[in-house]
Symmetry: C2
Subunit: 199 residues, 2 copies
């Protein structure tokens, strides 16, 4: 429908996650009308991220150097490792300011349906980190869905014999939510995990 180069940009934008054909068209026309310098900056940011970003050799988090900012930070407690699926989970946990240990980014979760097995995740690297016996607690913070639960169970079985304390993030009602809108599974988990109130 459009002149070749415009259609080409719309097609490329349409490949991005969450960008449908209508949004791709809208973004393309926005860029057509935008300052050329702005478009160049975006193109440059795209190329730069592929050139410069690597993954931390210790934990697998995104990093600008050999090790990520968290692994390089001497104030972090290296005796506790929190295992997550993706780098964005690290960011979500960092925002809580609750955790001062280190991370291990698996790069996904076990999902036979997508052909992802334990060997496709950074599990061998995790085992290496646990080998010297300095780690006292492994917090499994994979997503609370089918794949995340399977991955947590797999890791717990693998790590338990090493004598490391293995914990899992609590499931329950989201804070600020309405009990009546909670799904049954979440509500069931909230009952299971109920705590004694010390008042």
């Amino acid at each position: 429908m459009y002149e070749g180069v415009v259609q080409n940009l719309i097609d490329e934008l349409g490949l991005l996650p969450g960008v449908g054909p209508k949004s791709a068209q809208r973004i393309a026309f926005h860029l057509l009308a935008a300052d050329p310098a702005d478009v160049k900056r975006l193109a440059h940011a795209l190329l730069e991220v592929k050139e410069k970003v690597r993954f931390c050799r210790v934990c697998g988090n995104v990093a600008a150097e050999e090790e990520c900012r968290i692994c390089r930070d001497p104030r972090r407690d290296t005796h506790v490792i929190c295992v997550v699926e993706e780098s964005k989970d690290v960011v979500a946990i960092e925002k809580t300011r609750e955790f001062r240990g280190t991370y291990h980014v698996l790069g996904g979760a076990i999902s036979p349906i997508d052909g992802i097995g334990p060997d496709d995740l950074r599990i061998r690297e995790l085992m290496t980190r646990l080998a010297d016996g300095r780690v006292t607690e492994l917090i499994l913070a994979t997503d609370p869905n089918l794949e995340g639960e399977a991955t947590a169970t797999y890791l717990a079985r693998l790590v338990k014999p090493m004598g490391v304390k293995v914990t899992r993030l609590a499931s329950g009602l989201p804070v600020g939510g309405d009990l009546e809108y909670a799904d049954e599974v979440t509500l069931g988990r909230a009952f299971e995990g109920r705590r004694l109130l010390d008042v």
Copy 2:
């Protein structure tokens, strides 16, 4: 929160229309994991569109050459001009296959609130096209909203004295819609524009 280059890409993506901070993060991580060749292709498409796309010197539509594909097409009827706000409106009308005339893209609509007056639109260029008296009908296909209606009224008053037939696209119920879900203004217009059924 992220290493500089990743945050930079997230910020740049977040400037695009319809891309919020969460989508920008999602797209950035998708690109981090993507094949470098795919990311290069996207960056290239961005730069190419700014380099190669210009606007048709006749109608103002996006074009890869001096004139757009429609203005260069000898089968199009140059006696009828359809006035639209944006190039994407041209595409929408072309998809109907109802119209075989030519277009004039204004580049927006009159909107005092956004500081857009008649001089910011390609109205002078439209007047030049009408000057030789060859155009018999001007179809005003600006959006059926406040700004589009104001622009259509403005153009109609400007063009009427030249003796050109000026028409406006019909307002009414969308085909396939439910009468009860139509807003009052649309339903009112549908009544106003009701037609005699020849059965």
